[in-house]
Amino acid sequence: MAGTKKNPMPCQPGEERVKNFLEVALGYDEDVAINEAKRCIQCKNPKCVSGCPVGIEIPKFIEKIAEGDFQGAIDTLKEKNSLPAICGRVCPQEEQCEKVCIVGIKNEPVGIGRLERFAADWERKNRKEQSKISNTEGKKVAIVGSGPAGLTCAGELAKMGYQVTIFEAFHQAGGVLMYGIPEFRLPKEIVQEEINALLNLGVELKTNVVIGQTITIKELMEEEGYEAVFVGSGAGLPYFLNIPGENLNGVYSANEFLTRVNLMRAYLHPQWDTPVKVGKKVAVVGAGNVAMDAARTAKRLGAEDVYIVYRRSEDEMPARIEEIHHAKEEGIDFRLLTNPMEVLGNSEGWVTGLKCLKMELGEPDSSGRRRPVPIENSEFELDVDVVIIAIGQGPNPLIPRSTPELQTSKWGNITADESTGNTSMEGVFAGGDVVTGAATVIKAMGAGKNAAVAMDQYIKNK
């Protein structure tokens, strides 16, 4: 019988997993998946579908799992989502599909994300060798950036018969899925398999090309013959606190720390060439998913004490509950209502501590969250040797700088219509974090998908 609670996700035990980079959540087996799928009551008017940014037919794919038709389940998922193995792992389901699940009113909502992951993993294990399609007939379109927005847009356009080229600045495709999200939350092999599936659709990938530096958008259209361009260059510019001592040795942006470890495999140094300073005591400033990722990574690299330093309280922490929970299980020390004032260093320029101020919550501010207010004379020093700043990222400026035709906001985000990705430059579409600011994988995918439809229409009407 289906229970009132979600079938629990089997996980590597906390004390084990802090010693490795293997995936934390292990996934349902077939019996558990079927059992969980049977908890879905197959609503006539399913709310979950509208909670999904790409509109997956959730009851249908779950029904297939309940019937044991796993191929049917993955086929249903892939009608709307080309990256289900990724979304099943990193989507904030509790704020999207599962938040509005009818079962969730009385009991725990159906584990939609876990079931999505199950179906995708089943397919990965049972996937047949696909022959590569080569699209040389269709019109040429260019995708800037190979993160979730760009990959989705590319996949949709390839399916429509376009000749798609993805340009990636790094040496490896995947964007934030490769450099940002750690192996223990999203194995890189899965990302690469999804990318290979795209390449099999005939999508061409050009790594090591920085649009805005190597080639401009205008040149892509006027000289290289691309009919339309999608910009999904993400939010890659790290914010800093602008407090004294931030340029001391041992202060990282979360981007740098995670890129060194995830993309460049610094955790395997010196077998891999890129080094990283681990530190014995590490403070991570911020409390979003990126902060949790950085803190849990530092712990796995061998840091003894890892702190999350956050100026608000637990209620305001932007990270997913599951990630906060995992971090706590792994021994991350949460220092809430604590505001960093200054990074302290020695005469050689190395971090020796983080000067903080204790806070309390006052009246709500413009974000609707209660404003943190400093408590007088509450300064104290946190003894740390590495500080990682994880307070968010802005849009990368290379494309706006090199493309004056593109209208941007005062924050540097590209101005684009949310439902079509239309920008102020004809034939240029944009979506994902470069438009919205740092958001989620699935929102970026939704934007990529919408833009693909709009690009197709644009080219047809040209």
Partner: protein, 277 residues
């Protein structure tokens, strides 16, 4: 892709390679750099574009073998391909407007990035006076190249094995004081040299540009590892530089940041000579 077409040993640990890179050659300007990776497990290494040939689609890079990555790069031969090569990165150097006479100072391997500056300025009609310095004669290179684009070429070595014994700043001070109508200085080399030049020219209020070889990962503004304090502001050398107004740079901070991975580099050195897989 990225095939090495020519290789030259300039000094025992100093090498020059000319690499096929048509897209980069088409766009490159003085002051810009590339990032390359030699093998699957390799680091991303930033190197200045020392020269480019738009017609033949090649770029020239000069590097000093300091750590295991650059040593491994030095082992590549003509015909080998560089796994990844991305660029041009960074902003082209903004040359002082209206300057008629500019002193270009190159220290050590810094002559590689100073040469394209001198060349570009020379071609645009600016008169160049060059000062090239190194620890000893063996480490001097590009003297002919520099001579070809300069009205005067001065050479210094720390040990006096070639040119004048002393530092580039000794010559620079004399040039400034001999009142030759110098409008600006471009100085690229080791951080202490750039700091010394900057300290000197500051006294004379002489506009000076330096180029910073900061540590970086991606080179596109994403990691923030190349932070540098310019005036009171934090800038990223990869997208805001690498060239900056010398008098605004916090050199002490930069010198410290370059020591960030000293310990790790020692670990790497130990396994040098283990052979390439």
């Amino acid at each position: 892709m990225n095939k090495i077409l020519q290789k030259q040993v300039l000094a025992p640990t100093l090498k020059q390679i000319i690499v096929e890179a048509p897209l980069i050659a088409k766009k490159a300007k003085a002051g810009q750099f590339v990032i390359l990776r030699i093998h699957e497990k390799g680091e991303r290494i930033p190197l200045t574009i020392a020269d480019y040939d738009r017609d033949n689609g090649t770029i020239t890079m000069i590097f000093q073998e300091v750590g295991s990555s650059t040593k491994r790069l030095g082992l590549l031969e003509i015909g080998d391909e560089i796994l990844d090569l991305v660029g041009p990165l960074g902003q082209p150097t903004e040359h002082p407007a209206g300057a008629k006479r500019i002193v270009c100072v190159g220290g050590g391997v810094g002559v590689a990035p100073v040469y394209p500056e001198a060349k570009e300025l020379h071609e645009s009609g600016v008169e160049i006076i060059s000062i090239v310095g190194a620890r000893n004669e063996e480490l001097l290179f590009y003297l002919d190249n520099m001579k070809a684009v300069s009205k005067e070429l001065h050479v210094t070595t720390d040990d006096g094995s070639k040119g004048r014994k002393g530092f580039v700043t000794d010559v620079l001070k004399e040039l400034i004081e001999s009142d030759k109508g110098i409008d600006a200085v471009i100085a690229i080399g080791p951080m202490p040299m750039m700091k010394a030049v900057s300290d000197l020219t500051k006294n004379y209020g002489l506009k000076t540009i330096v180029s910073l070889n900061s540590l970086m990962v991606d080179g596109t503004g994403m990691c923030g590892g190349c932070r540098v304090t310019i005036g009171n502001e934090t800038k990223f050398a990869c997208i805001d530089g690498p060239a900056f107004d010398a008098h605004e740079v916090d050199f002490i901070e930069q010198m410290r940041r370059l020591r960030m991975y000293q310990i790790e580099e020692k670990v790497e050195d130990c396994r040098c000579g283990e052979g390439m897989e």
